[in-house]
């Protein structure tokens, strides 16, 4: 019955669930001095870098990859990436590393470009004042010689990096909006993200009705738009993040070390689906789709028919029957692709403007 599920990666599928990186590396004691601190937050272990590169399968089919690396820091991973023959653009948000990376750039003529830029703050909402490291994609990418691919074409480039640990959700939402309206990086085509993300967040992203506690709005929206694949899982002790929390006190640091929940980071691959916009879902009406899913998860234990009353003037039962969804389902029992299907069923039902009880401006009202 759930034939569309095959495309959704299951958690802990045996082939994509690597063993934990052994964490006997005891050099990583709690930070003590300033010079020590600034070496943190970045991949510092060459072995790890090598493993990641291997997982990315960059050497296959002789294709010359274009990779954007966010915050390379010491450049350990950068070197490993360059070794595969890929060209790398390093977007570094911390000025301190720029000289080091620039020196690296000089050594490798042309294959590495370094830009002072914060990837996750690219294209802010108010366009009037941008100062580096905040930049606009429409200025940055042309200057790097990157051209836009259409949505149906191949992946234009990969982005490798780490979600900002203190606001992963915010970053995920921003990327999601960019993706559904094809703006910012997604203006250049179906950009592949290969990102470190906390295990908890990953579990949420990949959740479906089989684990309803984790299943939420982001799971639906990301799974509908992208293929999500877990490439690698790593114990967090090996990586240190810029997040200030980690420096606050030793006790917190220890706590994080010992609580298994926070220890693991997942390296995930997120590739937008080619068929995202092939039917009735388009960048024009994506906000209605977003609203529909959010409304349904506003009260996740309520019946879908109940929510549909607030979403469309049509008879909810008829709609659900047409979409082939059980009318007794609750919000958290519907699979992501079914949400898309439900949306498209309503959307294609008529040309009438009144098929949705949705108000665009409502989202902007201050209160």
């Amino acid at each position: 019955m759930r034939k569309d599920l095959g495309t959704v990666p299951h958690r802990f599928r045996s082939d994509s669930c690597p063993k934990l990186w052994p964490c006997e590396d005891r050099r990583e004691s709690p930070p003590t001095s300033a010079s020590h601190l600034f070496s943190k937050g970045y991949i510092v272990n060459p072995t790890l870098a090598a493993t990641l590169v291997e997982r990315l399968q960059l050497t296959e089919n002789g294709h010359r990859h274009l990779i954007i690396e966010c915050d390379p820091g010491h450049g350990i991973l950068t070197k490993a990436l360059l070794n595969t023959g890929a060209s790398v653009i390093a977007l570094q948000s911390d000025k301190k590393f720029i000289p080091h990376l620039k020196s690296l750039q000089e050594k490798l003529n042309g294959k590495l470009q370094v830009v002072y830029c914060d990837f996750f703050k690219m294209d802010p909402d108010n366009h009037n004042t941008v100062h580096p490291p905040v930049v606009l994609s429409q200025e940055l990418f042309p200057s790097l010689g990157i051209e836009a691919n259409s949505w149906s074409e191949d992946i234009p480039f990969k982005v490798i990096g780490t979600f900002p640990p203190n606001n992963e959700r915010k970053a995920l939402w921003k990327l999601l909006h960019d993706l559904y309206v094809c703006s910012s990086i997604y203006k250049y085509g179906r950009v592949e993200l290969c990102m470190f993300i906390s295990e908890k967040q990953y579990e949420k992203l990949a959740a479906d009705p089989t684990n309803p506690d984790l299943y939420h709005v982001l799971s639906v929206l990301w799974q509908v738009s992208c293929k999500i694949k877990l490439l690698y899982k790593v114990s967090k002790i090996l990586l240190h993040f810029k997040k200030k929390l980690y420096y606050i006190s030793e006790s917190i640091f220890r706590f994080l070390q010992h609580s298994s929940k926070y220890q693991n980071l997942c390296f995930v691959q997120i590739i937008p689906r080619k068929n995202l916009f092939t039917k009735y879902l388009t960048p024009i009406n994506y906000d209605i789709f977003f609203h529909m899913v959010k409304q349904c998860f506003g009260r996740r234990s309520a019946f879908l028919t109940h929510h549909l009353h607030s979403l469309t003037p049509y008879d909810p039962v008829a709609i659900l029957n047409e979409a082939g969804i059980n009318t007794n389902f609750k919000s958290c029992e519907v699979y992501p692709q079914d949400y898309k299907h439900l949306f498209e069923t309503i959307e294609c039902s008529s040309d009438n403007d009144n098929k949705w009880l949705y108000d665009r401006v409502l989202e902007n009202i201050e209160c």
Partner: protein, 1248 residues
């Protein structure tokens, strides 16, 4: 054993009760007596043996029994007395009546009560034991000490004190349960001589025995400690319980109130929550009903709770005694006890506000005991502050203005306004362009009508269901929303809910706002209802008619006095309206109502937009919208309903009575709660919903302190207005056409840009589609904004049209800083240029010798063309432009349209017309003008700062000093900035060089203006950035750097020019910082005596779960939260200056009134008739000098020291350090400069 026995007798009691429902035979009565008799015997003998076994229980029982006996005795005697009276004077029974005659229904209740009693009794005893153990463990319990004496007198004198501790509580707990059953029982008994003779002996137990004088003090202290100990949550529960009981009182559900109170009392955990106010409330309720026994049982709860009866309690007791017509002895004893409690009889009549009917009942009782008593009349008190001495001086010339209308007209106006407020909503014809109704329109109206009738029926049904459900819960002794639901008649509630549907905007509204609005509306109507029911209408009419004699044109007054003084002389102060319910109840009630509404209203399938559905759809649907991680519930009307409303195009708008200007002069303000509208509640000081701090502060300050503010507000409200019909006609023409953004007439939403949706090629790229979506959203947003502006104008113009041929008044109140505002929100003189142009004084005055000149100068002021020219030049300019002025007046829309380029075009036009009429009249000096002439303070905030600091340079730049031409502070600052810039540019600073030639008055104006009101470097930079972006040839890359540089220069220039201003500002800010860091909100008292407190606290959250959605109410006015330091600190300087400018305005208003002028104000803009401008100007200057001759800052410092640096400055630790630092800061009052204030007297441009 004891329990058992009691249980048995209680059961018997109930059996007896049931049987007594039938007409009683003597035989049965005999049995009844027998039963009682035997029980009494048992209490006398077997108890003695049992006492040693179980001290506590026996003690308890004895008390209970004694109480029962005593009550029995009382009621018997009462009934006897009544019977005697009835037989003697049958006609009199109605007056004395109040005790309801036993009816079958009540008897059944009595039966169930009795049955319940034995269960409760068992419970009670267990709990009682627990409590007693607890108390003993604590080893201190203040109340019993005097209770013990009570026992000693009334009962056996040999009881060990430890044992009797629990007794008082047990006794009253039990007795409180009894009243109903007892009353039924004993009223059937024949008169018993013994009981009657016993009565005087038993009575003291009720009144409490003679107490040592310290007792009340002791108790008060214990009570205080008690309330201190209560947690925040408990305090909230206490407030809610109080509100519940108040509502019961209002809805006359006294039985419920008593039951809930008793239930609370019998629970050891909730016992501590009972307050004296609660008991007083319930007692008042019983007193109104004339139920003496029930009142006594509440009194016993109160006394057992450790409270001494206070004035309110005695007022209730006496009122009740007055109604039931008791023996003189009882009344006398009551009065004696009252004297012993240190309360004077006169206080009862002076300090307790009761309705006159209640007062009469009280007096009836008092007169019985003291036939020669004469209720004292309040003597008028006069404010004695030095600032106001002249205002209230009895001697000297006084010519208070009168209205131009005769008494009879005013009376008719009063009746009109009264009926309007009684209806509470007003239908006003909309000025929207009306087409003749088509078939479709008529059909839609019909459908709408049917729908509303269906909904009405459904709402009634749902409301009844909800009430029944809640009533059942309340019966069990749980405080619920039941009485809150009953405050309004069901029909009114239903109508109110239905009206809500009409005003819901198409895009919906956040659920929590709707909830709050609905409940607040209910509360306001509740107050109205209260004022309406208790026979106050005739009283009001009588008083108001007498009051009008002061204002009418054709009456004589023996002695001139102010409206408030006259009003106070005409009668006692009105009873205070009920206090606002706690936010928790407000929100719960609103939520309940809203959920009922959502459930009740549905659209039939034929109306819903989809064709295939067969079920009715909800008319209101509930959606979520998202702000980041916040999820906000919205309630929206179904588009089909909006469509229906649009089709029906109903020709009238519905306004609340309080949204309308008044049709008669407002009631003068005589206290913080009475004034303004005739019936609708109006607050003297506006505040955020749910905050009571301002109200409490106002109530706690001596009444004379507020006289200045009360009188000033009354006078502002007494100004009569009328609509300028000619301007209204012109505006309506434009409004009904397509509006005009340039002239401030909002165009309809149909004029909004349309999204280019149609020309999208099918194969457009996703990115193109996304762009289109953004465009669609933008257009929609603009349309929305235009619609809301249009709607606002529609309201205003419809009201203007509605009032076109009437005289009306705008009642005023003030915000928490003392700034005054008219209460009606949509149509007043505070609005935009358009709103102001629609209004003029209803009362005209001849122009006189200089009036025409002022009219012309005012005209030029409105155009904004000659701001920096002296008055002569403005007048000369007006004379040269006379041609254009006359042309504008004659052909406003077709002529040369000179007025349209003015700063305030509509007011300019109105003024042009007035000038034209004046110059064309045969004698301009005799021309009666209605147009208000404005006098504006030039940068009023800085004027006050400069005067506070006696700042010479600053003072002359804001026109405090004599000068031939008006000084412009903005140009002054710009010049100073330019000086700094040139210096920097010479030194090679890049930014300074770039800015060459760009520094103008305009760039710095906003920042200078707002610096007084606390704008920071950050905000100032944004303002300047905005100005620089507007400059076309300014290199935009430098905007950020240049704005940052400039804002520093502006601040530096201001520091240099207004040296002491910055010092004062700094002093105020730092003091506020220290005060709020120490944990208090900043408070002060204005020179006029208005107490002020800053309502900025850390946000507190109130969450109500369940139902349609859980709601969260955030408020920053919760006094239990710590103050928000940043807001307290940044808010203090501007708020303080605002409180000063309001003082200045009020002083000017009061003095102008004394001189007979018409005066209104828009904060620092004063309005009067053209002929009076020079007088007002002089008064305004004089009062400014008077105000600033006061040691304002020194007074402030002294007040703050008194208020915030108590004796505990020697505290150790950080708190002590903070305290001493604060003291040091407060004492360091900034020094003053050498400016001579008297110069203001001759300054022409101070206000111009």
């Amino acid at each position: 054993m004891a329990t058992l026995r009691w249980g048995r007798s209680a059961a018997e009691l109930s059996r007896a009760l049931r049987s007594s429902g039938h007409p009683c035979t003597t035989a049965k009565e005999g049995i009844l007596v027998g039963l009682w008799g035997s029980r009494r015997n048992s209490s006398a003998s077997p108890c003695e043996q049992e006492r040693r076994k179980d001290w506590g229980h026996v003690e308890l029982l004895e008390v209970l029994e004694a109480r029962v006996r005593q009550l029995q005795a009382e009621s018997v005697s009462e009934v006897t007395v009544k019977r005697v009276e009835v037989t003697r004077i049958p006609a009199d029974s109605g007056r004395a009546g109040g005790t309801p005659p036993p009816a079958k229904a009540e008897l059944r209740i009595g039966g169930s009560w009795a049955r319940k009693l034995d269960q409760d009794q068992q419970m009670l005893q267990k709990r009682q034991k627990l409590v007693r153990e607890k108390l003993q463990a604590k080893g201190r319990f203040l109340a019993p000490e005097f209770k013990l004496k009570a026992k000693a007198k009334a009962k056996s004198p040999t009881k060990p004190s430890a044992m009797s501790m629990a007794a008082p509580k047990a006794r009253s707990a039990a007795t409180a349960k009894l009243p109903l059953s007892e009353s039924q029982l004993v009223s059937k008994q024949p008169a018993n001589r013994n009981d009657r003779t016993e009565e005087p002996a038993e009575e003291p137990v009720d009144w409490g025995p003679a107490q040592p004088c310290e007792a009340p003090l002791n108790l008060n202290r214990s009570e205080m400690q008690h309330s201190l100990k209560l947690s925040l949550e408990q305090q909230t529960r206490q407030r809610r319980l109080e509100a519940f009981l108040d509502c019961c009182l209002a809805t006359e559900h006294m039985a419920l109130a008593s039951r809930v109170l008793t239930k609370q009392y019998s629970s050891p955990t909730k016992q501590g929550l009972i307050t004296q106010a609660m008991c007083n409330t319930v007692m008042l309720g019983w007193a109104r009903k004339g139920s003496y026994r029930e009142l006594l049982s509440v009194l016993s709860i109160m006394k057992a709770g450790g409270f001494t009866p206070d004035l309110l309690s005695y007022a209730s007791i006496l009122q009740c005694l007055g109604r039931v017509d008791r023996d003189v002895v009882v009344i006398q004893r009551c009065l004696e006890q009252m004297a012993q409690d240190g309360l004077q009889l006169e206080q009862l009549f002076l300090e307790v506000t009761l309705s006159s009917e209640e007062k009469a009942a009280m007096l009836r009782a008092v007169l019985k005991a003291k036939p020669d008593f004469c209720p004292p009349q309040p003597s008028p008190q006069v404010n004695t502050s030095t600032l106001l001495r002249e205002v209230y001086a009895k001697d000297g010339p006084v010519s208070y203005p009168r209205l131009h209308l005769p008494l009879e007209t005013l009376k008719a106006m009063f009746r009109q306004q009264l009926s309007l407020e009684l209806a509470s909503v007003v239908h006003v014809e909309s000025v929207e362009k009306v087409l003749s109704p088509t078939q479709k329109t008529l059909e839609a109206r019909k459908t709408l009508d049917t729908l509303r009738r269906t909904w009405e029926a459904e709402l009634h049904r749902q409301l009844q269901e909800a009430k029944a459900r809640l009533a059942q819960l309340t019966e069990q002794g749980r405080p619920t929303l039941y009485p809150f639901l009953c405050v309004l008649p069901e029909d009114e509630l239903v109508q109110m809910l239905l009206q809500f549907l009409n005003i819901l905007p198409a895009q919906g509204e956040p659920f929590v706002y709707l909830v709050q609005r609905l409940a607040m509306k209910t509360f306001e109507r509740h107050i109205l209802q209260q004022r309406r029911c208790r026979g106050q209408l005739q009283e009001l009419e009588q008083r108001y008619t007498q009051y009008l004699q002061l204002l009418a044109s054709d009456t004589q007054m023996a002695e001139p006095c102010l409206p408030r003084q006259h009003w106070e002389m005409l009668g006692p102060p009105e009873p205070a309206p009920p206090q606002l319910w706690p936010m928790m109840d407000i929100l719960s009630l609103g939520k309940l109502l809203l959920e009922i509404l959502v459930q009740s209203v549905q659209l039939p399938p034929s109306l819903s937009l989809s064709q295939n559905s067969s079920q009715p759809v909800p008319m209101l649907y509930h959606v979520y919208t998202f702000r980041g991680i916040r999820q906000i519930g919205f309630l929206r009307p179904h588009p089909a309903f909006i469509q229906l409303l649009e089709d029906a195009a109903e020709p009238s708008l519905i306004f609340e009575a309080t949204d309308m200007p008044m049709l008669c002069p407002p009631v003068p303000w005589s206290s913080s709660q009475s004034g303004g509208f005739l019936l609708s509640p109006t607050k003297l000081m506006r505040s955020v919903d749910g905050s009571l701090q301002h109200q409490n502060l106002l109530e706690s300050c001596p009444p004379t302190e507020l006289h200045g503010a009360l009188d000033a507000l009354t006078q502002l409200g007494n100004c009569a207005w009328r609509v300028n019909g000619r301007v209204l006609d012109l505006v309506l023409d434009i409004f009904r056409d397509k509006g005009s953004a340039h002239l401030g007439v909002p165009p309809p939403a149909s004029e909004a840009p349309r999204p280019p949706l149609d020309n999208l090629p099918p194969d457009a790229s996703p990115h193109r589609k996304a762009e289109l979506r953004a465009e669609v959203t933008r257009c929609l947003k603009i349309a929305r904004e235009m619609h809301s502006l249009w709607r606002e104008a529609l309201y205003r113009l419809s009201l203007a049209q509605h009032l076109r041929h009437q005289v009306f008044w705008l009642p005023h109140n003030m915000d928490f800083r003392g700034r005054t505002y008219p209460c009606p929100p949509h149509f007043n003189h505070l609005g935009s240029d358009l709103a102001r142009a629609l209004l003029e004084f209803a009362q005209g005055r001849p122009l006189g010798p200089h009036g025409l000149d002022w009219l012309k100068i005012h005209l030029i002021n409105l155009t904004g063309f000659k701001k920096s020219e002296p008055l002569r030049a403005r007048l000369a300019f007006a004379n040269t432009m006379m041609d254009d002025i006359l042309d504008s007046a004659d052909q406003p829309m077709t002529g040369r349209k000179w007025w349209m380029d003015a700063e305030d075009p509509w007011q300019t036009l109105a003024c042009c017309m007035e000038v034209a009429r004046a110059v064309r009249s045969p004698d301009p000096a005799a021309f009666v003008s209605h147009l208000p002439i404005h006098q504006d303070g030039s940068c009023n905030g800085l004027q006050h700062y400069a005067a506070l600091g006696r700042d010479s340079v600053g003072a002359s730049s804001v026109n405090l000093a004599t000068s031939d031409t008006p000084q412009d502070v903005y140009s002054g600052v710009a010049a100073q900035v330019e000086v700094f810039r040139t210096r920097d540019a010479k030194q090679g600073l890049k930014v300074a060089q770039v800015l060459e030639g760009f520094i103008s008055r305009k760039v710095v104006k906003q920042t200078v203006m707002t610096v007084v009101y606390g704008v920071t470097l950050y905000g100032g930079r944004l303002q300047i950035e905005k100005r620089l972006r507007e400059l076309e040839n300014f290199p935009q890359v430098f905007v950020w750097e240049a704005s940052r540089y400039l804002v520093h220069l502006v601040f530096r220039s201001l520091r240099e020019m207004f040296s002491s201003t910055r010092t004062i500002q700094h002093w105020l800010t730092e003091s506020a910082r220290l005060i709020s860091q120490a944990g208090s909100a900043v408070e002060w008292v204005t020179p006029l005596g208005i107490p002020i407190i800053q309502p900025y606290h850390k946000e507190s959250k109130l969450v109500i779960r369940g139902g349609l959605q859980s709601i969260t109410w955030n408020t920053s006015a919760d006094v239990n939260q710590k103050p928000k330091v940043v807001k307290q600190k940044n808010g203090f300087p501007p708020n303080f200056i605002h409180s000063l400018d309001s003082c200045h305005m009020m002083l000017t208003a009061l003095h102008c009134y004394r001189k007979g002028l018409t005066f209104v104000s828009v904060h620092d803009c004063f309005w009067t008739h053209a002929c009076d401008v020079s007088v007002m100007n002089q008064v305004c200057r004089e009062q400014f000098i008077r105000l600033h001759s006061q040691p304002i800052l020194e007074d402030l410092s002294a007040f703050l020291v008194r208020r915030f640096c108590s004796a505990d400055s020697a505290q150790p630790g950080t708190k002590g350090r903070l305290n001493s630092k604060l003291l040091e800061m407060l004492l360091a009052v900034p020094r003053k400069g050498d400016f001579d204030l008297e110069k203001v007297k001759t300054s022409t441009y101070f206000f111009s």
